[in-house]
């Protein structure tokens, strides 16, 4: 059996998982919030893009609007609501984003309904032929975007003042505050970055799979799985784990008896990852 087409198609989705995993991780490292609403935030943006394209606005505008809306939602929550839970357990702060996810799902349900749609970019029709397999430009863009973005974030964290502040917050929130790190500003910046990531991830997944509120909301699960494999710390491991999860999911498609269960791949990988890595990653989870 020729697995190559499945690997290629998995790379596209894997790139989205990688992008999302890194987006989650940036926020988690800087603020200690695991954002369950990541997928929902992206889904809102993707719906906006779909709506604008229905109204015959240019593609570039639709994409820009989508990322802006996702970023705005993330910013609003991060700036005004998340601080209300700042000094609570990590898990309570994560559950807070669950509330945001529920709210966004409801919003999308009321405005757009649950009818599965598909976002179509012109790049879907353009393709390269690689080893006899079509690789659409959308997938190439997803892959390039993932690499560029992980590189960009690494540079940001490593060389800029904001990155230094973020790393300081990740290490010790209270100590950073004493040393004069502006916590609200740094955290808000992290929320904005994660919003941009969510917007891009939502757009790509809505194009590669389908545009549906609850479906896109659960984009967060493979992303969390990737972040856990990166021990909630390493950006590059998270990115590669995301790619790997996407490819693994796609590779199971041609195997008949397992195919109906293949959408459980991220869950199974994440379960195993939590059980094996959970104890070692505990340092990253110490109460902040």
């Amino acid at each position: 059996m020729n697995f190559l087409p499945f690997i290629i198609s998995g790379l596209g989705i894997g790139a989205v998982y990688a992008l999302s995993g890194v987006g989650l991780l940036v926020l988690f490292r800087a603020t200690g919030v695991l954002n369950f609403a990541f997928g929902a935030i992206g889904a809102v943006g993707a719906h906006v893009a779909w709506q604008l394209m229905e109204w015959d606005y240019p593609l570039a505008l639709a994409i820009l609007a989508a990322v802006l809306v996702s970023t705005l939602v993330s910013f609003l929550y991060g700036r005004f609501l998340a601080p209300l839970l700042s000094y609570r357990d990590t898990v309570v702060r994560a559950v807070g984003t669950l509330a945001l996810a529920l709210f966004l799902i409801a919003l999308m349900g009321v405005v757009w309904g649950e009818l599965p749609r598909r976002l179509q970019f012109p790049t879907d029709q353009m393709y390269l032929t690689l080893f006899g397999v079509r690789l659409t430009f959308t997938r190439i863009i997803a892959l390039v975007l993932a690499i560029v973005v992980v590189g960009g974030i690494t540079v940001l964290l490593g060389t800029t003042r904001l990155g230094l502040d973020m790393r300081a917050l990740a290490n010790d929130r209270d100590l950073s505050a004493i040393l004069g790190v502006r916590i609200t500003r740094t955290e808000t910046a992290a929320w904005i970055i994660t919003g941009i990531f969510a917007g891009l991830g939502g757009l790509l997944l809505a194009d590669l799979v389908r545009l549906q509120g609850t479906f896109l909301t659960f984009l967060v699960i493979p992303a969390i799985a990737a972040a856990i494999l990166g021990q909630l710390r390493s950006l590059w491991v998270t990115a590669f784990a995301g790619l790997g999860i996407g490819v693994a999911e796609a590779l199971l498609t041609p195997i008949d008896w397992i195919s109906p269960y293949r959408s459980a791949t991220p869950f199974v990988i994440a379960l195993i990852a939590v059980m094996i890595l959970g104890s070692t990653a505990q340092a990253a989870l110490k109460d902040r």
């Binding site: 559950v95 807070g96 409801a106 869950f267 199974v268």
Partner: protein
Amino acid sequence: MTAQNQTLARPMASPSAIRVPREVLVIPVVMAVFTAAVALLANSFWLTAATSAVALSLSVTGLAILYGQLGLVSLCQFALVGVGGWVTLRIGHAWHPPFEVSMLSGGIVAALVGLIFGIPALRLRGLYLALVTLMLAGGFQTIIGAWGFPDGGPGFLGRADGAGRAMLSRPDLAQDSVPYFVYVSIVATIGLVISQWHKLARPGRAWALIRKGEHVAIASGVNVLTYKAWAFALSGFLAGIAGALLAGNVGQLDGRAFTAFESLNLFALAVVGGVYNWYGALIAGLLLRAVPALLTDLGIDGYVTIGIFGVALFQALATAPAGIAGQISGLIARLTRKGQKP
């Protein structure tokens, strides 16, 4: 008064183990009044909603034990309800035992499943349990989507095609919808009493210590592992029973209704209803079933409910950690105190 104070203070108030404390006695009384009111006043539409609301409140009680007593977030409770329902239907269709037998086996299997997935959490803290259980809920969604619920067909999965579909019969005692509602209420009352007793007695004290800090608990001679495992098993058991009662209500279950999203919803409502008071679970169950029924009655989009739940969850987390039940109990406390001091 914080929640921990409430849970810690009660056992001290009733040191005698033999005397039935007032906090337990009040449950059957309130439930009897509630059941009588619904059975007499509700039409069939509301009766169905109330039956599943009461059944679900049993599973919320399980969540309340984990979150309220131990601070553990479990996001797979509705999946465990599904496990209980699946086992009940499977056993009911295979051997046609009395309903109670199917129901208990559903509860026991769900308890085992809850225990198996609680084991990694015995050593891990907060966020990781939430993640493990979220993955479990997602995995269950995939499996139940592929399997469906048994409806009298052959084989392990028990799926019948088209004409051969059978319904699970209700318990012999309660064939009609009103007696079945009373039956569900009685089972739920027993479940609520059991969990309330746990909170007041030895396990509750152990859980309160574990919540304060595991080192504190170990130093005080509490067997942390056993009591945590017991909490998971009890919570899973209550979810399983709830699933069995849901299966008995309509006679079958729909695999598409058991998404991971429903588990998130259930948890959100457990927090909104209030996890520190027993009637928080009842409030949560009613919100979960009666509010959508009400909105449908009024012709409002069902998604509005989810939005309301989302806002209510955040509000509860940020300003009222004890939920609606906590606010009610605060109100009652203030009123009675005023009554005592003229």
